[in-house]
């Protein structure tokens, strides 16, 4: 491939994608920032799966870089932060979905992207966020029989074993 000038063959910059997302889901999506290869957005929990499908089909976002959870103890909420990359457009989108802390449930995207499968399992393992529709919502890293979610902020670290 020739020397690439910041743009892949897809040719859609982050600004274009952000604009399209706002037009498509005006009431569900909030764009924080968009540069030529980055999109930062917040998506409502109910529309997350739809947004993901749209992004995958329309803008060839075919790689999930990471799915991570964040626990906001004081604000009583949780985040699921997904970083999704489009190889052809060379754009990475950071999409935050906010969840209530007492009932953290979100639609799984592991049927769209197989790569999200283990990330979601790990997020469940560490934060107790339940991904609805995930093929195998089990603990992955911690030993069997663990009864706590270690990365939650109310779990205090320190010697335990």
């Amino acid at each position: 491939m020739a020397q690439r000038e910041g743009l892949g063959p897809g040719g859609k910059t982050g600004e274009v994608i952000a604009q399209a997302l706002i037009e498509q889901f005006p009431e569900y999506i909030k764009i924080k920032k968009a540069t030529h290869n980055r999109v930062y957005a917040m998506v409502d929990k109910t529309a997350w799966l739809k947004v993901a499908t749209y992004m995958k089909d329309k803008f060839e976002f075919d790689h999930v870089t990471a799915v991570s959870g964040v626990d906001w103890l004081e604000e009583k909420k949780m985040w699921v932060v997904s970083h999704i990359t489009s190889y052809s457009n060379q754009v990475t989108a950071e999409i935050i979905v906010e969840l209530p802390r007492d009932k953290p449930e979100i639609d799984s995207v592991s049927n769209l992207w197989g790569g999200a499968n283990w990330h979601e399992r790990e997020t469940y393992d560490m934060f107790g966020i339940i991904f609805l529709g995930h093929p195998r919502m089990e603990r992955i890293l911690t030993p069997e029989g663990t009864d706590y979610f270690p990365y939650r902020k109310d779990f205090v670290g320190g010697r335990r074993v």
Binding site: T142, P143, P150, F155, G157, G158, R159, R160, V161
Partner: protein
């Protein structure tokens, strides 16, 4: 042997007789100083053999496993000292723990330790195996393997250099040399 000392020897079953005669032999040997003499002669031979055929278990856990690999590489060449890595715990003498031990691994490690045939030794390599190292406040790692299996030699470092690892094995050799006294009649 004077049979008057053991009149009941006649009425024994074969297995009883074997056990009895073995005990008697041992008592006689110990009483007469024969055991001491035999030990004195044989113990250096056994300990030489144990020192020079010290097979560590091929078991890489974490960072120190790379230094273990480097130690068997051509620059450090641990094999010239008789350290030949074998993969089955039944055939090895040294359990080299080269990394942190987590709650998930602990039962397996204990099992490996028990699968190894006596005499066997445990070498804790690196800070994580000695005390938990950088993960001292982790909820999932064991703070030192000596909390659940006895350790003979500690090799400090994070990770220790291959020379340090070989030096640790030399320390182990010294320990074997000191300890291996009188194994012949006991085993």
């Amino acid at each position: 042997m004077d049979m008057r000392l053991a009149p009941h020897a006649i009425a024994m079953s074969a297995q009883e007789f074997l056990a009895w005669s073995r005990d008697l032999m041992e008592q006689l040997m110990q009483a007469s100083g024969g055991k001491k003499a035999v030990d004195k002669i044989t113990a250096p031979i056994w300990s030489w053999a144990l020192r020079n055929a010290n097979y560590p278990l091929h078991f890489g856990i974490a960072c120190c496993a790379l230094e273990m690999a480097a130690a068997s590489g051509s620059r450090f060449d641990a094999e010239r000292l008789g350290m030949i890595f074998r993969s089955s715990p039944r055939q090895t003498d040294v359990l080299l723990i080269n990394g942190w031990v987590t709650a998930k691994l602990r039962p397996d490690l204990r099992r490996l330790y028990e699968q190894m045939a006596e005499p066997h030794w445990v070498v804790a390599m690196g800070e994580c195996a000695i005390s938990g190292g950088p993960w001292y406040d982790s909820y999932n790692t064991v703070q030192g393997v000596d909390t659940f299996i006895p350790v003979d030699v500690y090799i400090p470092g994070c990770p220790p250099r291959p020379e340090a690892m070989i030096d640790g094995f030399m320390k182990l050799h010294k320990k074997i040399n000191k300890e291996m006294k009188g194994t012949f009649l006991e085993d």
